[in-house]
Amino acid sequence: MTFYVIRRVAIGILLLFFMSAMFFALTRLTPGQPVSVGENPRIHQEQVNLRLHRLGLTDENGNPYPIPQQYLLYLGALVHLDLGDSYQYNVPVTKLLKQRLPNTALLLGTALVVALAIGIPLGIFAATHQYSKLDMTTSITSYVGVSIPSFVLGIYLLLIFAVFLKQTPLHWGFPLFGMHTGGVDDPLDLLYHMALPVTSLAILEIAIFSRFMRASMLEVLHQDYIRTARAKGLALDKVNYKHALRNAILPIITLVAIAIPQIVNGAIITEGIFSWPGTGQLAFQAVVDRDYPVILGVVMLVAALTVVFNLIADLMYAVADPRIRY
């Protein structure tokens, strides 16, 4: 077990190195540089050189470092959890991430909890009442849910609530923590702001969770030990919820771990649409501004989170299912 964890962490770190190298190369291969006299004629060449040097792109005399050396500098800083400075905001990327991460965590966490709270019971019910009306409705809804990307769902929601019903503003301004302060003190206001983005992120996950839960539950319900339990004369509810559910819910752990980077992906656009001041919107804006240190920072963060969550999922799996040993 200990060996397994060490091995996985080692692989994860290697993976992060690989990804940082790839993304670093990609961002450095793009033409142009963050500061130039051409962009702002009022600054002197010396100032430009100084700035480029601070960003780790050139040496003191303004000669650009070769890309491998730039990467080594970046790596050296990365070990100290320093992701460099943002071209756009002129502040350390880590500071930006620290500001935005709580907002994203709040949004994604809520979406995930909502999706689990609705999707799993729905899937269980659909499986225990196979071919019932609710089962059919669940199937249809999950098909539609999987086919709507979260950004289109967000647009639809804005269309319905902002344009047709005129209940919400079209363009959201945010009194949240991070960039602004004071918003968390008013939970009702926070809830109002979160309702639409959480819905647009949660629907896809509800669709996936309910579908998966239904399939997993049905598979378990057809196994021999369930028949035995029923033949013994156990109550149906007891068989369904005590014997079957325990085994059927295990694969969901993996699914949740896989779902997290997926939601982060969806959050990039959803946060942009609803102007939610999180890491997704930061990445969205960084893409528009071509602010590569920030893009790189977000990518590294997501990759690290994925590695960690995958590891946690595998370990939890071993805890939940004693048959699994690493």
């Binding site: 692989i11 993976l15 690989f18 990804m19 993304f23 990609l26 961002t27 291969l29 793009t30 033409p31 098909y143 539609v144 999987v146 086919s147 709507i148 990307p149 950004f151 289109v152 647009i155 639809y156 804005l158 269309l159 902002a162 344009v163 047709f164 079209l170 363009h171 896989i258 980077p261 982060v264 992906n265 990039i268 656009i269 990445a283 969205f284 893409v287 071509r290 893009i295 977000v298 990518v299 997501v302 990759a303 994925t306 590695v307 995958n310």
Partner: protein, 332 residues
């Protein structure tokens, strides 16, 4: 006991005048009926066509009403994507500043209205459909070539290739995919559709690769492969003639469902401005100005592309699930 029918050589049983009491080449259908063998209806068995795996799958698919309906609708969408751009020609980019925001269903000239620059919405939608379907199909072909090829090799030979495939999957899964595509697009100097297709194909093939690997891992241990080996078949022949046809079913399902994923991904990229550049329309970039349209209450300019996108993805998903049910009836 049923008699063993004689081999149909020579005029043994069917001598004129004799009463046929057994099946032979000369006995007619009527005579066979007259025999009245208990249990077996001879004519029914004889006329039953021999159904192969794929024909049975087609029949099973056609019995799936929802999937068949989705396939028909998808056919209509694909046909529109092919035919309408040919008919309308350059209409998708001809601007008419006197008639912007013409509402839909008002005139035959602009059946679905015009957008903010007075361009015909129907022509733009159809052309956008073409982009979506083209990207979807080409990228999936890429998935099949890369993922199928590498997955087959990894599953068949194992070894370092197998390990490399698994690690690559780990990397891809932990990447925010949109940012990858954007970074690559930026690095290769400008937004082109070919870049988008190549990047999607190069990063998304791992799912089919893993499926193919799993199939090959199972199938290469089967008796018929050992038999082929014992008969001296080359590796290439075993891979293509013996294993591949048996491994195809889940691959086809995954590829079909992959198309809808790519269509949605392309739309998301277009929405961010990283797919085909304007004035060329795609469903994604038609939605990118949604805020302006909603502010000006021109909801149809948002509803049409969004609904076209969702409808197409839904149809592909339904068809994919229909194929899954048809190919693997046990899974229902």
């Amino acid at each position: 006991m049923a008699q063993v029918p004689p081999l149909p050589i020579g005029p043994a049983a069917g001598v004129p005048g004799s009463v046929p009491n057994q099946l032979s080449i000369e006995t007619t259908v009527e005579q066979e009926r007259a025999l009245q063998q208990p249990g077996v209806k001879a004519d029914e068995l004889r006329d039953a066509p021999e159904l192969g795996f794929w024909r049975l799958a087609v029949i099973r698919f056609l019995h799936h009403r929802v999937a068949t309906g989705a396939l028909l609708l998808l056919g209509v969408i694909v046909l529109t994507a092919i035919v309408v751009p040919i008919i309308t020609g350059d209409l998708y980019r001809i601007q008419d500043y006197r008639h912007p925001f013409k509402p839909p269903f008002q005139s035959l000239q602009h059946l679905l209205g015009t957008d903010d620059l007075g361009r015909d919405e129907l022509a733009r939608l159809a052309r956008g459909a073409r982009v979506s379907i083209m990207v979807g199909t080409l990228a999936v072909v890429g998935y099949l070539l890369i993922g199928g090829g590498l997955g087959a090799l990894a599953g068949y030979y194992g070894g370092w290739l197998d390990n490399a495939l698994m690690r690559f999957t780990d990397i891809i899964i932990s990447m925010p995919f949109l940012l990858v595509v954007i970074a690559v697009t930026a690095a290769t100097g400008g937004v082109r559709l070919s870049t988008v297709i190549i990047v999607i194909a190069a990063t998304g093939w791992y799912e089919i690769g893993r499926l193919m690997r799993a199939q090959f891992l199972v199938l290469r241990e089967q008796e018929f492969v050992q038999a082929a080996k014992a008969l001296g078949a080359s590796n290439l022949r075993i891979i293509f003639r013996h294993i591949l046809p048996n491994a195809l079913a889940p691959i086809i399902v995954s590829a079909t469902l992959g198309v809808s994923g790519i269509v949605l991904l392309e739309a998301a990229l277009g929405f961010l401005g990283y797919s085909i550049p304007p004035p060329e329309p795609s469903w994604g970039n038609m939605l990118s100005q949604f805020e302006d349209y909603l502010l000006q209450n021109q909801t149809y300019l948002v509803i049409f592309p969004a609904t076209a996108l969702v409808l197409t993805a839904l149809c592909i998903n339904l068809v994919g699930d229909g194929i899954r049910d048809a190919l693997d009836p046990r899974q229902r």
